[in-house]
């Protein structure tokens, strides 16, 4: 037998000895996580209908597509650290632990756009072009919504926004970065921003669960977190759909 080391038995499936850490969430946080998973899975599925992303799936994505993608992405990333910082400042002392985590997160990411600029140059683009780009219609809507929500007191619903945006960062790293290199013939230096976001993913999930456990303690909190995740998912997709208008 070629697969001699694999023990398979008839009947109940083989349980592999993986160390899945048990996370104990309160019942509201559990329901919230179930719904956030669905929002994410629907978002991810619908991304496949966005023409630019479809070309990654179908294998027809080009260098021009990549330059266009990066030009549009940069604006959102610059604005990203702003709403995260605003979110931190809107939490009062009751949430001081959450506040420090979010400040740290804003610190970590607030200069990420420089990485995109470097990727853009490595992909054959001019720095002036990407720096001179203004926000597309979708980025305007997304940023406007995030700044509005993050300016409200104790904006716990922004956890829903982080869920979508962090999830996408992970997807860029695991599904898009290498595929884009393969399709375009560009080097690793063209997708450093995308690849970078796959790091420390396990830690991010753990942190997310911990925050969810603290803030999601009622049906009302479930509802606002999920609602914000839905709005962010829709506006993020709009932002990616709007890239096509630049191509045309």
């Amino acid at each position: 037998m070629s697969d001699g080391e694999i023990v398979i038995r008839e009947g109940p499936v083989d349980e592999e000895d993986e160390n899945i850490e048990t996370i104990s969430l309160n019942p509201h946080a559990q329901v919230c996580l179930q719904q956030l998973l669905r929002v994410w899975l629907g978002f991810e599925r619908d991304l496949s209908t966005v023409p630019l992303i479809r070309r990654i799936d179908l294998g027809t994505y080009t260098v021009d597509d990549h330059l266009c993608f990066l030009r549009n992405l940069r604006q959102q990333v610059i604005e990203g650290s702003r709403w995260i910082a605003r979110t931190a400042s809107s939490f009062d002392s009751e949430y001081s632990e959450i506040r420090s985590r979010i400040i740290q997160h804003a610190m970590d990411e607030h200069k990420d756009y420089e990485l995109i600029e470097k990727d853009y140059i490595a992909s054959g683009g001019d720095l002036e072009d990407i720096q001179g780009m203004s926000k597309n219609v979708g980025s305007e809507a997304l940023h406007g919504f995030l700044m509005y929500r993050s300016s409200r007191p104790n904006p716990i619903d922004l956890l829903g926004a982080m869920w979508i945006i962090e999830g996408l960062g992970e997807k860029m790293a695991s599904s898009w970065a290498e595929r884009i290199q393969e399709l375009t013939g560009l080097g690793e230096d063209s997708t450093r921003f995308m690849a970078y976001h796959g790091h420390n993913d396990e830690d991010h999930m753990q942190l997310f669960y911990e925050m969810l456990e603290v803030v999601c303690i009622s049906q009302k909190s479930v509802d606002i977190i999920v609602k914000t995740a839905k709005v962010v998912a829709r506006l993020y997709r709009l932002q990616l759909e709007e890239i096509e208008y630049e191509i045309k």
Binding site: D3, P12, E16, E18, L25, L33, Q34, R45, R54
Partner: protein, 378 residues
């Protein structure tokens, strides 16, 4: 009107074939052993499977014969005469004839007179479609009993001659063409049958069908598993658009292909449908005693399963049951073959009141189907 599965049957052609012997049956393409066989077999963990072709790639059982054999076994075990059957539903990825529908051919073999028939077409989930059509017919009191059969003869598409003839395909061009070879070491042959009635069997255990749901996501995703396209980037022709079938075959448009890169989406959509059913209060994971899944559990050994656990809706591993590793992945037939053996197996004590969740995902263009059974006695 409650509907029950009152009898089951299955047919697996020939002896069990272990992983090392598979290439002897399907044949080494151009006399060269595959670079990918061991790797793909290790990943799918299937230990033995069956083929309806022999070592010379000659067909030993037609698809209709296999379907008929499974149906005969199911009827032999039933407590009703075959005259009481009002409907025959048959599912397969590819019947012996492209036309007419396979149900016509199976009906003829079974000599079931003047019944209603339905042939469902698709891949793995076509069996759920056939089951649902029959279930609905009984619920509407159109019939008192219906026979549902699913049979697959994939090996005819996977034999070496198919690949040798594809001289201008991606398979011929590339040194390693994972997408074209993937299913060659994954799929095998077999058939399963279920008898549906409007009352439980007078003896032994029956399975009440509580609900059946399906969610297809073809609107969003490209095709993932298919026959009919050359698989070359930008190619829009399908097999009948070529001047001759020989040309379609040369271009690789008749090879079974899986876009492996898209495959994860079926796990994701499977979880989405599962959570949707939780949200709608239909699926109650904590009440499920047995989970029969057409996918092997190790495909779910990823972050999504961890998240389901964190979200409090995972089904513990000890409640999962499969015979995929010993009977092979027989596509549409798998779930019926699984239900048949599950009800007869001595290693699980199935008892009255047990609740069974069945999940059949289809990667073709991302269809996910679910149904729920409760064990009842007369």
């Amino acid at each position: 009107m409650p509907v029950y599965i009152t009898s089951t049957g299955c047919f697996l052609p020939g002896p069990p074939i272990n992983s090392e012997q598979v290439e002897n049956i399907l044949g080494a393409v151009n006399g060269r052993a595959s670079f990918l066989r061991v790797q793909i077999q290790k990943a799918n963990k299937i230990k033995t499977r069956h083929y309806a072709i022999d070592e010379n790639q000659q067909t030993t059982h037609s698809n209709v014969e296999m379907a008929t054999n499974a149906a005969e076994q199911c009827l032999d075990r039933a407590f009703i005469s075959r005259e009481q059957i009002g409907m025959l539903a048959v599912a397969s990825t590819q019947g012996d004839y492209p036309a007419p529908g396979m149900a016509s051919m199976v009906q003829a073999e079974l000599e079931l007179p003047s019944i209603e028939i339905i042939s469902t077409h698709g891949i793995c989930s076509s069996s759920t479609m056939a089951l649902k059509a029959a279930w609905n017919s009984l619920r509407l009191k159109e019939h008192d009993a219906a026979l549902v059969v699913s049979s697959e003869l994939a090996s005819r598409m996977l034999k070496k001659q198919r690949y040798e003839a594809a001289t201008e395909s991606t398979f011929a061009e590339k040194k390693i063409d994972f997408n074209t070879e993937f299913l060659r070491w994954m799929l095998s042959d077999g058939a399963g049958a279920l008898l549906l009635q409007n009352k439980p069997s007078p003896k032994g255990l029956s399975l009440r069908i509580d609900w059946m749901k399906g969610y297809s996501h073809a609107h969003a995703f490209p095709t993932c598993m298919s026959v009919g396209s050359s698989g070359k980037i930008g190619e829009t022709k399908t097999w009948q658009d070529y001047d001759s079938y020989a040309e379609a075959e040369r271009q690789g448009a008749l090879l079974l292909r899986q876009d492996v890169r898209l495959l994860d989406n079926i796990v994701r959509m499977g979880v989405d449908g599962y959570l949707r059913l939780v949200e709608e209060g239909i699926n109650k994971p904590s009440e499920v005693d047995h989970f029969l899944c057409h996918y092997s559990s190790h495909h779910f050994k990823n972050k999504i399963l961890e998240m389901l656990e964190a979200a409090g809706v995972a089904i513990p591993q000890e409640r999962w049951w499969t015979n995929l590793y010993t009977r092979g992945n027989t596509g549409a037939a798998s779930m019926f073959i699984m239900i048949d053996e599950f009800m007869r197996s001595s290693d699980v004590q199935v008892k009255e009141g047990d609740r069974i969740l069945c999940f059949v995902p289809e990667s073709g263009r991302f269809n996910t189907t679910y149904f729920h059974l409760t064990v009842v006695s007369a």
